[in-house]
Symmetry: C2
């Protein structure tokens, strides 16, 4: 089953023009003895009229070019503006009749991967897309290692430089691919978690991880690209999505924007699954959110055979309930070398459906036969035998891995349940369930529901967003009301601290079954009889 | 007679603190688990509360320093803010308990001379003052020569560099004198005519002198000092006074601010005399202004013996009406080497009062005796004989010089009369007459009235402002409502184009007598009988 992909923000596409975008074409009335307003004031007055604002700023470097530009362009200009507190700033100017486009860079600054998209700011068309490993991986795999490194001599500068190198590499690649000059890029929108955006901006992140967990900034003001060292037009503006706090980053705000959660009139939940599960719930004027450790099992991170999605990685598993034969699918149909999160969830769901594990996830030897082996006093399920694997070794899932997966899925469901409870709802009330991230793109909701990880909703309530952080960054580039909307999201959201109290633990214990202690909550899941 | 000096904006002085200045001391509530707002947002929220605004910006370089600063300062900060369209920007931050002051630089960018004052932004105290020749004089003596030079290859850059060199020289001198570091200067306010501010900002001035006379900007936004190359804190803000057009510069706006003309409830006129006479008239919610060529004679510029004020220059002249003996005063009591504008006006007034020139300003040989000599077929009055002069030559005033002075004074009076007439007034309605500039500081109103250059008002209506452009720049540094006030002045003023039409010419012809064709307009001036 492939989930429908939310396309509301993929831009109006080639050929069409965005009427409320950041690009404004103005035709100025040329000066005369009766109207000898200065060049800049003439331009800003015209832009102000279009923006319904008296407050439009123009920086000196652009002002210096203006008198020649305005005359050579015969008073027809294409301006790129951006939103600032209380007003607007001009980020770039070209003659109105200039060939070529003005571009925007959308950037998802992931801890592990960076993804970038180049868009035409006028048409909304996507010009190119790329992704790369975050070069900061050489410092440390996770945010914590990097924050500690940032506290060492020169560490912050090094991490900042690595982030920039990655982004600038992506920009060069995108521009080559789209056939445009780098200084055609006049806006950038950057979404990342709080630590990543700090490292990107060169802000000391040390207070993020120390009580009371304080970011240097929740809402950085738009920055000139030249000041950051980004390989785009130096006067272009860089917008960094605001965070709600140390544990609720701009990437999730971007996701909320992308999912239109702030405009939802139905109860809608957005789940972004990583090492942390970040969850937002809203519908009609209110929004609550939380973040909690769902356990790396869902990313395939803890099992011995766990792997990030890539060639040879198992992403789908089917088990015939009658013959108990395994059908294993790998990415690229290559010999299996590991399993990713969605594959793991499929595997667990299929094992359960075929009656090969019990409701606690314990392997049932009588159904597993040869596939079960005891190593180091632990039961292992052989998923792919050595003869068929890429590694030449058995790919196995241990009982410990399975228990870890069940804790993770229980944590996830408990988080969703707890967040829903804060607004007096239960998970079954959710009318729209957005799953973000690569996880969301690959997961089979049928499987996730079978193991009780996500609520048992009508399947058409599920929407996979793909990279919602990147999607949100694109959305920010295509509408000039986006910044106000983003700020309203940030300010309007109620962040719920997940207290691991008795009630939470009771819910968690109840969720440590397949699919749940209370099967009535998962009516569509048939519990196999032993 | 020495005129009283307007002191309303000389600052509250040593020891007192300005409550509505640009410096704001804040004591922030330290963060806690219950209030984990980011550092920047915490600061900006506190500043916003004090500024009654939600829109305060913080630039990246200051943001990068903030986490360490805010903690080492124990959440007590001294912030310097500045006004921007729609909001405010932070120009500098120090720990609240930091020793030393934060300073502002007031700058009058004259075509010939630059004058600068350093002020304590918190107390308003003047720390140091200096003046120097505008280094652009090496390119050309007047604005026109420089604008032409700016159009040559590298010319604008050269002029911009010369202006900066001059200003930076002044800054170093002021800082040495005040014993402060240059990066303690966090704000600068710069007043100059439209051409000078263009050259200072590196803006192409060529369209200023071509019909329809368009400045690159009427109202440049505040600029980071580092971007301009000023030798102060690079993140400090530089405010350049707005202009109304090519011929009505920020220096006059600064003068209007300094004279409080926008707040006057009595009919008030401000006259700034140079090669151009710049005149503003207001009183109770309206303001009109004009600029016109009054002739360089008033600056002492055209007479052969004319000179800028300086040692050995004649600044006051008295003639005994009975003995017709000349009493000549020079600056520094040194041997005479020339005459400045105020000396020239004194001389003309005294000659007229002693009956040595007629009402057309023609030398009367029967009263001048030996002092009159014909050279090159022109009558010359020997003011200082060769034996007593510093040059070893006679210092003389020719009939041509005298005629030129009379044309200049007539032009001046006609301008005042014409501007008054646009609002249905005559010069005698003026209740407060502010004279700006060095001219205003030295001129004896008695003499100026005697020759009919300025209206015959009660002498206590005259106020000499001194360097009102510099005074206005200081005023801008000491009150944080000044920028809004300045913009309101700029936007509210009605600039009157002086059409040299028949009516103007009639007025001009009538004014070409001493004191006027109609002596009833100058009742206090006794007309000598021949």
């Amino acid at each position: 089953m492939n989930l429908p992909v939310n396309g509301s923000f993929d831009g109006p596409g080639e050929g069409r023009n965005i009427s409320d975008g950041w690009v404004i074409r103005v035709e100025l009335t040329p000066p005369s003895l009766g109207d000898n307003t200065g060049d800049a004031d003439r331009l800003l007055r015209a832009l102000g009229r279009r923006l319904a604002s008296d407050h439009v700023r123009l920086d000196l470097p652009l002002l210096r070019e203006l008198p020649a530009l305005i005359r050579s362009a015969d008073y027809r200009l294409r301006a790129v503006v951006f939103r600032e507190p209380g007003g607007w700033v001009v980020a770039g100017l070209t003659p109105g009749a200039a060939p070529g486009l003005v571009a925007g860079l959308a950037l998802d600054l992931g801890t592990t991967r960076m993804a970038a998209r180049l868009v035409d700011l006028e048409s909304g068309a996507i010009l190119a897309e790329t992704a790369l490993d975050n070069p900061q991986l050489e410092i440390g795999p996770d945010v914590l290692a990097r924050i500690h490194h940032a506290a060492t001599e020169g560490g912050l500068e090094q991490l900042n430089m690595l982030a920039l190198e990655g982004v600038n590499y992506a920009i060069r690649k995108l521009c080559r691919s789209a056939g445009i000059a780098m200084d055609s890029i006049l806006l950038a929108a950057v979404a990342g978690n709080t630590a990543m955006t700090h490292l990107f901006l060169g802000l000391d992140p040390r207070w993020i991880i120390r009580e009371p967990y304080i970011p240097a900034a929740n809402r950085p003001d738009p920055i000139r690209a030249g000041e950051l060292g980004l390989a785009m037009h130096p006067m272009g503006r860089v917008f960094v999505f605001p965070n709600v706090g140390a544990y609720f980053g701009g990437d999730l705000i971007a996701g909320i924007l992308y999912a239109d959660l702030d405009r939802a009139d139905r109860i809608s939940m957005l789940v972004d699954v990583g090492t942390n599960a970040e969850v937002a719930l809203g519908g009609g004027g209110w929004m609550v959110a939380c973040a909690g450790a769902a356990g790396p099992a869902l990313e395939g991170g803890v099992t011995r055979m766990g792997a990030m999605a890539g060639p040879g990685v198992i992403d789908r598993v089917a088990i015939d309930p009658l013959t108990r034969r395994f059908s294993i699918h790998t990415i690229g149909d290559e010999p299996a070398r590991g399993i990713c999160g969605s594959g793991l969830i499929d595997l667990a769901a299929q094992l359960f459906r075929a009656g090969m594990v019990d409701i606690r996830g314990r392997f049932l030897p009588e159904t597993l036969g040869d596939r079960l082996r005891v190593m180091d006093e632990t039961r292992h399920l052989i998923v792919v035998p050595a003869a068929e694997s890429a590694t030449g070794e058995d790919l196995t899932l241990s009982q410990i891995d399975m228990d870890s997966l069940i804790r993770s899925k229980a944590a996830m469901f408990t988080i969703l349940e707890t967040l829903s409870a804060t607004v007096g709802l239960t998970p079954s009330d959710i009318e729209r369930f957005y799953v973000a991230g690569t996880f969301g793109a690959f997961i089979d909701p049928e499987s996730a529901i079978s193991i009780g990880m996500i609520p048992d909703l009508d399947r058409d309530r599920f929407v996979s967003l793909g990279n919602s952080s990147l999607g949100g960054a694109v959305a920010a580039l295509l509408s000039r009301d986006s910044v106000d909307r983003i700020n309203a999201i940030r300010d309007g959201i109620t962040y719920v601290e997940l207290n691991v109290n008795q009630e939470f633990m009771n819910r968690f214990s109840a969720a440590r079954f397949l699919p749940h202690t209370d099967p009535a909550r998962f009516p569509s899941v048939s519990i196999p009889r032993r």
